[in-house]
Each structure stands twice: as structure tokens, then as C-alpha cells.
């Protein structure tokens, strides 16, 4: 019964059990697991060699050796499979070979015990692979942490340093044998030490990471700013972290730079706020972002009240449109901005300012820097002087013209007088004994008067350069010279000047004459501009159908009423627009100059729309007596 029971247990054992008998190793017992393993039908009575088993080839030899020597053997982790493809799946068995001894101690057979150790074997192999991988990762981490410019470290919950990368020793110059935990706090700048220790401890107690800056002593004794950042190593949310890993980065230079920038900016801001001028900066798009303190003091408005274009509101209403137009133009082109404008003070008084703005282009993109300088006193003084100068110059010109005209106009009466006197001497009889002497005296006086008149006219002519010899002139060049002299008037009126000399670029004429003509016509066009529109002056040098040169100056100004007698316009001291300053000799002079050289001046005008002057030159003739 017990024997039967034992057989049952053996048969059902999950491991393969078999016995082999005799030197030829015949199967004498096979349990179910073993039969399944071989899967070769009935085994009992057959020899091992007869049944192709999944054994490795050398196992049969080992069996025979065990039988011969009587010494047991265990083949560990044998891949028991004759099918090479199945072997890859990795089925492994421990095969135990034990000799069965007869009563006399001689070996009579073998006991085969086959246990499936696939799982154990796989686990062992995986462990091996993991160990290799771990070594690899460890090496990688070490190389990485030792090549990074930062100092890396690991600190435990008590604040003790468990690991620090070699860079720490390079940086601090401490020997490898030094006690990190003792020396590290001592290397922190005394002003930062307590704070750092407190912040580190607080972070460790609360289980969080940290990021703070402090000064650490370098090997050369210099304290350098470092950024310390660390994070706790968290495995589960429930357990508090045991380690913190982190890095120390040297940020000294960045910090110094940032500090210098901050200081520089604060100093510049302070400087800008201290200057008694209106200073502002604007974005590339032209929106003012900063007004200095003085701007607020002067205008009585805050930066918010002024707004991105609020400075325009400070200007005199008459000047706002021109200033705004000029600003938009500067922003669009990047050209410098400059103008003289009246700016309203907080008390409502306007003072003259030069507004200048320039664009700075650097790495941060373009920005505008502007300044408004108070030039009120200078401007007023200059205005007074300019007015006086203009008046004097005008009076001087008027006098010249008067003398010129008078000398010319007196020539005819003198000529008449001489004729009359000659007639009188011929027909009348004088009884005075001193008649001969008197007649000579009158004759001489008349000649003297004629000479004096001629000299007067010549003096004026020479002084004004009107009798200069003709030369070949570049009309555009002369016109640009004249415009340069009139630039203040051009700027103030915002006039658009169109200069076209392509048709007749050259003119043979007196330089001073051409300049005088252009000056008078252009300054008239600017002076008599229509207040409601941008003055537009066209200057055109042309040729007539028969090849004669001509000049046209056209404006869109006030225009004038042309009298029935066209010549009246050009009478001296005639003023078309009494409300605008002037002596009224300009056009008279132009006409005299043009006609003195054989040319003629024509005018067309519509009141409220504009005036066109057209000159038909006569080239090359010298000025005769005007």
C-alpha cells in the first residue's frame, strides 16, 4: 500500500523522474512529467541511446561516466531541447544524475531527476543584463556630471553631503581628503552663510527643492556668485525624500553684468530726470514710452495723460499738423527729426523749443531718443534781430532801387533841359557882360549833373552785381542756392518745392541777376501762400517753340487781382497784400532786370488759387542802362 502510494507521488511529481538500469541504461521507471518531456511514446525497456531525447549530445557520455564511477553529477541550466528554434525560447532544466547502488555497493543504474529552472535561469540572465546596464548608466552619469561645467552634488536629509563632483575640488582648491561637511559652509561668504544654511534646511524640512544664489570662495580667495539649485529624489508621495540632487552654477559674470546694466539704467534715468530739458524715448513705431520728470514738471501732465503721441498736444495749434507730419515721416524713413516749435507750459505760456530726435539701432531693435531744448530767449532775440535785419536790408534795397530809379528817371529831364538850353542859347540874346562865362557855367553844370546821374546808376548797379558779365549758368544750381537761403521760410511753411530744369538746364545770364529774379519770385510764392493748404511751388526752366529759354514759377497761393494796365503790378511800392510785410519793389526790380536784358515778364493769376510768373529770357545781351 505504502509502496503504491510512493509510486503515485513519484508519478505525479511536477519534476521529471526516471530510473535507468544496467550498463546499457534501460528505462525502468518513468513518471508522467518525464514522459511528457521526452514525448517519445513508451519508454520502459528501451535504452537511453535508442530514444532521441532533447539532451545535449554530451549528456549521454556523462550518464555513462556516472554509471562507471558511481559519482553523481548535476548539469545546471541545461537547455533541454533538440529543436533549435524552440531552444531560443529558453527552456532550461537542471538534470541530476545519481547512481543507484545495489546491496553490494556496485552501481546498478541511474536516477534521472529533471527540474524545470527556466524562470530562475531567465531571472539570473536578466539580473546579469541589469547589472551591465546599471554599470553603463552609472558610468554615463559619472562622465556627464564630471564634464558639465557645473558642480553636482547629493545631499541627504540631514544636510550631509554624500557626493560632490570633482569640479567642487577644482573650484575651491580644497584637497580631496577634506571634510566636505565641515569645510563647505566655511567657504560661503559670511554675509550669505546664515541665509544659505537656513534656506537649505527649510527646503529639506519641507521636502521641496531650492534655488538660491550665494557667494562661494574660489581657490584664489575670490568670492564668486553661484546659483544653487536642487530637487528632492521622490519615490512615492507618501514617504519624505531622503536625498537631494542638485547643481551649482557660477553666475558671477552674468550677475555683475546685470548689476552693471541695472545700475547704468538707473543712472541714466536719474540723469535724464535731472536735466532741465524735456527728454523722451519712443519705440521703433514712434510711440513715446518714457517722458523724463522735467517733461511732467514743464507740461503739468503725467506720462499717462500725455500718452504715446501726447507731446503733439503741447505744441502750438498752428504747428501741430506740420510737426506731426514730420514725425510720421521720420518714423517711416528713420531720418533724424528736428524742428523749432512753441511748446505749452503748465501755465499756458508757449515757449520756443528745438525738438530733436534720433534713432538708435542696436541689438534691442531701433528706438528713438528725443530732447526738447528751450530756446525761447534766443529765439525771441533772434526774431527781433531778424526782423530788424530784414527791415534794414529791405530799406537798403528800397533805397538802392529808389536811387536807381531816380537816376534813370532824371536822365530824360536833364537831356530835355540841355536841349532847351541849347535852343535858348541859339535863339535868345543875352546882354549881360558876363554871359559867356555864365553860359559856360550852365553848360558845365548840366554836364556835371548828367555825369553824376550816370555814376549814381552805375554805383548801384555795381554794388548789386547787376552789371556783372554774363556766363553760362546751371539753372538748377542757382535755384538750389536760392532755396538754401530761403530754407527757414520753406521749413516754416512746410512748402513742397518742385524744381524741373531738364528742358533748359543752362542759361547764359548774369549770375546776380538770375539769383535776384529767382529769389524775388520764390520768396513771393512762399510769402503769399494760402493759409489752408500746403504751399506748392513749381519752378520750371523751359524752351519756347522757337528755342528761346524761359522760366516759370507757379504757386498755389493767394493769387492777386491783375489791374487792367498790366504794368501796374510792377510799379515800385505797389503792394498787393497790405497785411503781409514787404516794400513792394520786388516785382518792379524783377521786371527791370528782365527787360534791361531784352526779355519780358508775364503774369497770370486767379485770386484764391495761385499765381504763375513766366519769364522769356533774352540770352547773352549785357545789361544796358536800366
Amino acid at each position: 500500500m505504502q509502496e503504491q502510494h510512493l509510486q503515485d507521488i513519484l508519478r505525479r511529481l511536477p519534476a521529471g523522474v526516471a530510473t535507468l538500469e544496467g550498463p546499457e541504461l534501460r528505462y525502468s521507471f518513468v513518471n508522467e512529467a518525464f514522459a511528457r518531456l521526452l514525448n517519445a511514446g513508451e519508454l520502459l525497456g528501451r535504452t537511453v541511446a535508442e530514444v532521441p531525447g532533447p539532451w545535449p549530445a554530451d549528456l549521454l557520455g556523462v550518464m555513462q561516466q556516472v554509471y562507471r564511477t558511481g559519482l553523481g553529477h548535476v548539469a545546471k541550466a541545461c537547455p533541454l531541447c533538440d529543436d533549435p528554434t524552440a531552444r531560443d525560447e529558453g527552456v532550461y532544466y537542471d538534470v541530476t544524475l545519481e547512481p543507484i547502488c545495489a546491496a553490494d555497493g556496485t552501481v546498478s543504474g541511474l536516477l534521472l531527476f529533471v527540474v524545470d529552472v527556466t524562470v530562475q535561469e531567465q531571472a539570473r540572465q536578466r539580473t546579469h543584463e541589469l547589472a551591465i546596464e546599471t554599470r553603463r548608466l552609472d558610468a554615463r552619469l559619472r562622465v556627464l556630471s564630471e564634464t558639465a561645467p557645473q558642480i553636482t552634488f547629493t545631499i541627504d536629509a540631514a544636510g550631509r553631503c554624500e557626493y560632490v563632483s570633482p569640479q567642487w575640488y577644482f573650484f575651491t582648491g580644497q584637497p580631496r581628503t577634506s571634510d566636505l561637511n565641515a569645510i563647505w559652509p566655511l567657504l560661503i561668504h559670511p554675509d550669505d552663510r546664515l541665509r544659505v544654511l537656513y534656506q537649505s534646511e527649510a527646503a529639506r524640512n519641507s521636502g521641496t527643492g531650492w534655488s538660491y544664489e550665494y557667494r562661494l570662495r574660489r581657490h584664489d580667495g575670490q568670492y564668486r556668485w553661484m546659483l544653487s539649485r536642487a530637487l528632492p529624489e521622490l519615490h512615492t508621495a507618501a514617504t519624505p525624500p531622503l536625498h537631494w540632487h542638485g547643481a551649482l552654477t557660477e553666475i558671477h559674470d552674468q550677475r555683475e553684468l546685470a548689476e552693471a546694466l541695472r545700475r547704468g539704467e538707473a543712472e541714466l534715468r536719474f540723469l535724464a530726470d535731472s536735466i532741465p530739458e524735456l527728454i523722451w524715448t519712443a519705440s521703433a513705431e514712434g510711440f513715446v514710452e518714457y517722458y523724463n520728470q522735467y517733461t511732467g514738471d514743464y507740461s503739468g501732465l503725467t506720462t499717462a495723460e500725455l500718452g504715446p503721441t501726447g507731446w503733439i498736444n503741447l505744441l502750438h495749434p498752428d504747428e501741430q499738423a506740420g510737426a506731426a507730419r514730420q514725425w510720421v515721416h521720420s518714423v517711416a524713413t528713420g531720418e533724424e527729426y528736428e524742428g523749432v516749435f512753441r511748446m505749452r507750459r503748465h501755465d499756458g505760456r508757449y515757449r520756443w523749443h528745438i525738438i530733436r530726435a534720433r534713432q538708435l539701432t542696436d541689438g534691442q531693435g531701433p528706438r528713438w531718443f528725443g530732447a526738447c531744448t528751450d530756446v525761447d530767449d534766443q529765439h525771441r532775440l533772434r526774431q527781433v534781430l531778424q526782423t530788424q535785419y530784414d527791415e534794414l536790408a529791405q530799406a537798403n534795397r528800397d533805397l538802392d532801387t529808389f536811387v536807381y530809379t531816380a537816376s534813370h528817371d532824371l536822365k530824360q529831364p536833364v537831356l530835355n533841359l540841355r536841349g532847351l538850353f541849347d535852343e535858348l542859347r541859339r535863339t535868345a540874346t543875352f546882354h549881360d557882360p558876363e554871359k559867356t562865362q555864365m553860359l559856360v557855367m550852365v553848360d558845365e553844370a548840366l554836364t556835371q549833373l548828367d555825369l553824376t546821374l550816370q555814376e549814381l546808376a552805375a554805383t548801384v548797379r555795381d554794388q548789386r552785381g547787376l552789371s556783372a558779365p554774363v556766363e553760362e549758368l546751371d539753372v538748377r544750381h542757382v535755384a538750389e542756392e536760392v532755396l538754401l537761403g530761403l530754407r527757414v521760410q520753406v521749413q516754416q511753411s512746410g512748402a513742397e518745392i518742385e524744381l524741373d530744369t531738364d528742358e533748359a538746364p543752362l542759361l547764359t545770364y548774369g549770375r546776380a541777376n538770375l539769383r535776384s529774379v529767382l529769389h524775388n519770385l520764390i520768396s513771393n510764392a512762399l510769402k503769399f501762400a494760402h493759409p489752408d493748404r500746403t504751399p506748392h511751388v513749381q519752378i520750371r526752366s523751359f524752351r519756347t517753340a522757337d528755342g528761346h529759354p524761359g522760366l516759370q514759377v507757379q504757386d498755389n497761393g493767394l493769387g492777386m487781382v491783375l489791374p487792367d494796365e498790366p504794368a501796374a503790378v510792377f510799379q515800385p511800392f505797389t503792394r498787393q497784400h497790405p497785411h503781409i510785410g514787404g516794400s513792394g519793389v520786388g516785382l518792379y526790380l524783377v521786371q527791370r532786370i528782365v527787360s534791361s536784358r531784352g526779355g519780358r515778364l508775364e503774369v497770370e493769376s486767379t485770386v484764391g488759387e495761385g499765381t504763375t510768373f513766366t519769364i522769356y529770357w533774352e540770352e547773352g545781351t549785357a545789361a544796358d542802362h536800366v
Binding site: 513705431e285 514712434g286 510711440f287 503721441t309 503733439i312 499738423a321 506731426a324 514725425w327 510720421v328 500746403t534
Partner: protein, 149 residues
């Protein structure tokens, strides 16, 4: 009443269809809320001036500031006004296919944008000119040169 001017950047470029939908939606909403003004769009740059009752304008700006379709919203001006300067609400941009757009209500080609209304102060008109310049760039045709105020 107040008017608000802002500049912003679209998060991604707007297609013709996006712009058309935006135009239709804004026309509808703005007409209902009594919002008038003008919007400029070009290459992701956006600028808008709008005017309306204080609460309506402020609500609209808050909504615009939170709209995820654009970023870098920069408010340039937010001022009370005594009267409107725009009679309607318009949008100006360069469509890739301008063919269908000319007929759309409230659409303007950038070169057809009129000069700022004369009822705006010169400072505010300059601001509108500058945002127009910022959106379309100096190369875009100058507005019809109306006589300055």
C-alpha cells in the same frame, strides 16, 4: 464714450477666409454694440482703434485681450471722447485674392484707407497714422493726401 487703440500680433497668420469671417463677425457684433472704428491687419500685425460707450468699449477690450488668436496686446491709448470720429466700423488688409473682397461691406484695401478723420485731435490722428505705419510698413501707399487739419 471713449476710444481705445491697441497693437497686437496674430498667433498664426490669418488666411483670406479667416479674415473674411473675422470681418463678418466683427461687423455684426460691433453694429449691435454701437462700436465704430477701424482695424488694420498685415502679416500678423494687428492694430485697431475703436470707440463706443465706456462699459461696452472696456468689455470689448477685455475680450480682445483674452482672445487666444493674438498675443502681445499693447494698449496705446484709452481716453474719454466727446463725440465719435468714425461713422462705421471698417477693416483694412491685403487679401491674397482681392477679387471677392472689394464688394464686401466694411472692407478696405490698405491703400484706400482715408486719412484720419479731422474730428480726432492731431495727436490722436498721428497715433492712428503711426499704427497704420507699424502694421503696413512705410512701403504701403500713403493715404489719400487730404489737407491736414
Amino acid at each position: 464714450m471713449k476710444h481705445i487703440v491697441y497693437l497686437s500680433r496674430a498667433v498664426r497668420p490669418l488666411s483670406d477666409q479667416d479674415l473674411q469671417e473675422l470681418l463678418a463677425q466683427c461687423r455684426r457684433d460691433n453694429a449691435r454694440n454701437g462700436i465704430t472704428g477701424i482695424l488694420f491687419y498685415s502679416h500678423g500685425n494687428i492694430a485697431q482703434l475703436f470707440e463706443g460707450e465706456d462699459v461696452v468699449a472696456e468689455t470689448l477690450f477685455d475680450k480682445i485681450a483674452q482672445d487666444g488668436r493674438h498675443s502681445h496686446v499693447q494698449k496705446l491709448i484709452d481716453r474719454p471722447i466727446s463725440h465719435r470720429s468714425f461713422a462705421d466700423w471698417h477693416m483694412a488688409f491685403h487679401p491674397i485674392e482681392p477679387a471677392g473682397f472689394e464688394a464686401l461691406q466694411g472692407f478696405l484695401l490698405p491703400q484706400h484707407v482715408p486719412a484720419p478723420p479731422e474730428t480726432l485731435s492731431i495727436a490722436d490722428a498721428t497715433l492712428v497714422e503711426l499704427v497704420r505705419l507699424a502694421v503696413f510698413g512705410p512701403a504701403a501707399a500713403a493715404p489719400d493726401t487730404a489737407t491736414p487739419a
